[in-house]
Amino acid sequence: MTRRLSYREAMREAMREALQNDPRVFLMGEDVGRYGGTYAFSKGFLDEFGPERIRDTPLSELGFVGAGIGAALGGLRPIVEVMTVNFSLLALDQIVNSAALLRHMSGGQFPVPLVIRMCTGAGRQLAAQHSHSFEGWYAHIPGIKVLAPATIEDARGMLAPALADPDPVVIFEHCGLFNVEGELPDNGDDCAVDIASAKVRRAGKDVAIITYGGCLPKALAAAETLAQDGISAEVLDLRVLRPLDDAAIAAAVAKCRRVVVVDENWKSGGLAAEIVARIVEHAFFELDAPVARVCAEEVPIPYAKHLEEAALPQPDKIVAAVKGLFA
């Protein structure tokens, strides 16, 4: 038995379940309550759970993320929603200098069991200040776990283990995925997934496309095109960006011997660079061709549609990069 739902519905269900199951859980962020959630993820929650647990905040990203850290230290299990990764820059100090460091810096005395969710990514013509992808920056920081649910299953199932995690977990939800629909196995209440491993979303043998988040559908579309041209592409969804699943990456490399890494971050110093470095360090002799990357162009993401499309990874660019490895 399966049921069909959207990414948005999956996230909403996951949060509702968490709020119902654990009185320590509360949701806090800009316009999560009366507005109904910027992306309608928390629509109706205010009526169901009340203003103490569905807490609208002022426009004070540094303040309320910091307060979330404090509340976590104080025994609660906050879900802090930062409207978008773009505004998380205003909260970065609290995330980096408090949430990520406290456990270690305190000699293990003060773990921070906090979940921070934020929308990320470009593709909606929102222009440069609203189109960032900083997953790579967050994945740089020891002390936090970074998740990128790209499927309905993960949108539904990652929150519960994230809340159960004793350390801070940052969840990136790509804005291009919210209306995507998919089937979910009808497991009753048990939707939890693991938050440790990468997953093969399409099996193949000639080339491994390693990606995550908003680029997953693009990679799958590229794999489909490649199949028609006789190239069998494996698509590996990283899912967890920190810590990376090195074993899954190594297995994909060993199996396919050619690799393209696809990532919406800018190429210089982005997450794709880290993945390529690991492949070169650990699996260099498994490779039959240099590793290729398809990333965002090194430009502030422009507003005009044709420029925005040109600035971002697209299925045709992925196809071209793969074919380049066989030239």
């Binding site: 316009d31 002022p58 505004f87 205003l90 909606r124 090194e298 420029l307």
Partner: protein, 339 residues
């Protein structure tokens, strides 16, 4: 709704301006209104994309305040800045083309609705990070002060921005260093869906600004006369070297926050009540009552605004797309142009 916001009584008293000046301000409010009504329509038609934040209802603020500035002054605005750009002197053509994403736009189509820029009129942009413009304005004013320039920096932002750290840091810096900044707070009572009472422990914004040791005054943002007279006086004080000054404009947004807002957070009756205080028709009524404006004259101003909009749309339609090959230009200075 448990928080209610009532509109102030309609403005009264004589309009202290000659006919020519009153007409210019009325014409500018109409230009903004007609341009934005058309923009909403064009959004529906898919010509304008991304975020579109309309200023409808708040026109008296930008028009009244910007007419109190001088050409050498700086203007810093938010993502709700079509009106400010237009009154500051950007052509409607270049604004409309920008919203279409065309190369003929004031930012070559790279910025869109939220990022209008124009060096010629010292319009330092639409900033889409709430509060992001305030420290920038302090810096522009610092430059003017250190260079002994006669230049006021007017910085527009919303009530929501007051909760950001950037607001507090910028006001403190500006006051500490006596910088010539005019902080123009457009208090439309909501930041997205959050009423000011739910965002601010102290809802009297003048008290907050005043705590940094600067003069702060409040005016009826639905009354263009009050907006202009108070801003003119405030700008003169800043220009005279008194340091920064904070002006609160109490206003109201008639439309949704952006094109994605279901407006669950406020009562329709509240919006309707404020609409009766619409800045265009109250000003029009006063001018008519004083015998300064005839209906035909009003219709002529409105027709001119609509014609300008029509021309701007045609201009934007006829515009071109920046070639993809040029997309990377201007990320930084090209090596051959660098010193």
């Amino acid at each position: 709704m448990d928080v209610e916001h009532h509109a102030p009584p309609p403005p009264s008293g004589p309009v202290p301006w000659d006919k020519d000046f009153a007409f210019r301000l009325l014409a500018d409010m109409l230009r903004i209104r007609r341009m934005e009504e058309k923009s909403a329509e064009l959004y529906g038609a898919g010509k304008i994309r991304g975020f579109l934040h309309l200023y409808i209802g708040e026109e008296a603020v930008a028009v009244g305040a910007l007419h109190a500035l001088q050409p050498q002054d700086n203007v810093v605005a938010t993502y709700r800045e079509h009106g400010h750009a237009l009154v500051r002197g950007l052509s409607m053509n270049s604004i409309m083309a920008e919203m279409f994403g065309k190369r003929e736009g004031c930012a070559k189509g790279r910025g869109g609705s939220m990022h209008l820029f124009d060096a010629a009129t010292r319009f330092y942009g639409g900033n889409a990070i709430v509060g992001g413009g305030l420290p920038l304005a302090a810096g522009l004013a610092l430059a003017a002060k250190l260079r002994n320039e006669d230049r006021v920096t007017a910085c527009f932002f919303g009530d929501g921005a007051v909760a950001e750290g950037a607001f507090h840091e910028a006001l403190n810096l500006a006051a500490l260093w006596k910088l010539p900044v005019l902080f123009c707070c457009e208090n439309n009572l909501y930041g997205m869906g959050t009423a000011i009472e739910r965002a601010e422990a102290q809802t009297d914004l003048c008290v907050k600004a005043g705590s940094y040791g600067m003069a702060a005054l409040s005016c009826d943002g639905m009354d263009i006369v009050d907006v202009h007279e108070k801003t003119r006086e405030a700008a003169a004080r800043v220009r005279a070297g008194e340091g920064p000054l904070f002006v609160e404009y109490r206003t109201y947004r008639f439309r949704a926050h952006s094109m994605f807002d279901a407006e669950l957070y406020r009562a329709k009756a509240e919006v309707e009540e404020w609409k009766t205080r619409g800045p265009i028709h109250t000003f029009t009524a006063r001018l008519k009552a004083e015998g300064k404006l005839a209906e035909e004259e009003f219709l002529a101003l409105d027709a001119a605004a609509m014609k300008e909009v029509e021309d701007a749309v045609a201009y934007a339609e006829a515009g071109s797309w920046e070639p993809v090959e040029e997309m990377l230009a201007d990320v930084t200075t090209p090596p051959e142009a660098a010193p």
